[in-house]
Symmetry: C2
Subunit: 148 residues, 2 copies
C-alpha cells in the first residue's frame, strides 16, 4: 500500500467503524490502530487523537536521543518515556504543556551524556516537536540509572 519514500512523504487512512466516533486507522502494512473518544461522544474503544499525539512526540524524541547516544558509542539497556499532556480549558483544547519523563538504563551513559543529547535533539532534530514549536510548551525530565 505504502510505496512512497517515507523520508519525504507519509500517508495514512482513517475509516469510521461505528455510529459514534470509533475509527480504524492504518498506514502501510501495520496492524490497524483503534481510535475513539471518551463517553458520551465516543465509547472509549481506542486511543484518543491526543494520546496518539503523545505517542508521536515521545517516539520522535526517543528516536533522536537513541540515535545520538549510539553515535557516542553508548549502550542502551533500557529506555522508556512516560508522557503527560495538560489540555487547554477553552476550544481548541490542545495541549498547553507536555511533560516527557525519560528513563535510561545504561552501563556507560551518564546524566551529562543524556543532557547533552537532549539539548541537541528537541526542536532541532525531532520533527513532531518542531511542528508545535511556539504553540505548546514541552518539558523533558530525565533519569539515568547505571545498569547492564
Amino acid at each position: 500500500m505504502q510505496t512512497t519514500d517515507k523520508t519525504k512523504e507519509l500517508s495514512t487512512t482513517l475509516v469510521l467503524v461505528n455510529d459514534k466516533l470509533h475509527f480504524t486507522g492504518h498506514a502501510d502494512t501495520n496492524a490497524p490502530v483503534s481510535i475513539d473518544y471518551i463517553p458520551p461522544l465516543g465509547d472509549n474503544l481506542g486511543y484518543t487523537s491526543l494520546e496518539l499525539f503523545l505517542l508521536s512526540i515521545s517516539s520522535c524524541v526517543g528516536s533522536a536521543v537513541l540515535i545520538l547516544l549510539r553515535k557516542m558509542g553508548k549502550t542502551i539497556s533500557e529506555f522508556r518515556i512516560n508522557s503527560n499532556g495538560i489540555r487547554r480549558n477553552q476550544h481548541p483544547t490542545g495541549f498547553s504543556n507536555i511533560t516527557l519523563d525519560i528513563l535510561l538504563k545504561s552501563p556507560d551513559a551518564t546524566q551529562a551524556d543524556l543532557d547533552k543529547v537532549l539539548s541537541m535533539s528537541n526542536e532541532k532534530l525531532c520533527p513532531v516537536w518542531a511542528m508545535i514549536d511556539g504553540n505548546v510548551e514541552v518539558k523533558v525530565n530525565s533519569e539515568v540509572i547505571k545498569a547492564l
Copy 2:
C-alpha cells in the same frame, strides 16, 4: 492505568523493545501500538512517529466534522479520511504540508453542509490542528456522495 479525566489531561507510555528504534506505545487499556522507523535506523516494524501524527490529526478533524454534522441532524453512511504529509528537506524534517481527503457518504448531507462544518472545525475545534497552527500548512479536500 489511566485514572485522569481525559478532557483535561492525557498520558502515554513508550518502551524500547529492541536494540534499534522499535518501541511499544500504549495508553489506558488500549492494545499496544508498534512504533518503528525505516531502515537502516529502524526495521520498519511499526508506525513511524509522523504516521501517528497523521492519524492524530485525521481523527481529530474527523471527530469535529462528525459531531457538527450530527448536530445538524445529518446521517453518516460512510466516512473516511486519507491523509498525506510532505516532509521538509532539512532538519527538523516535520511536515511542511498536510493534505486531508475526506469522503462522506450520506443520504441527506450536501457538499455545502460539509463545507460549512469544515469552516467551523479546523483550527477552531480540532486541538491537533491548533497545536501546529502557523508551522504546518493543512489543506482539506472533500467529496460528498449521496448514498443510504
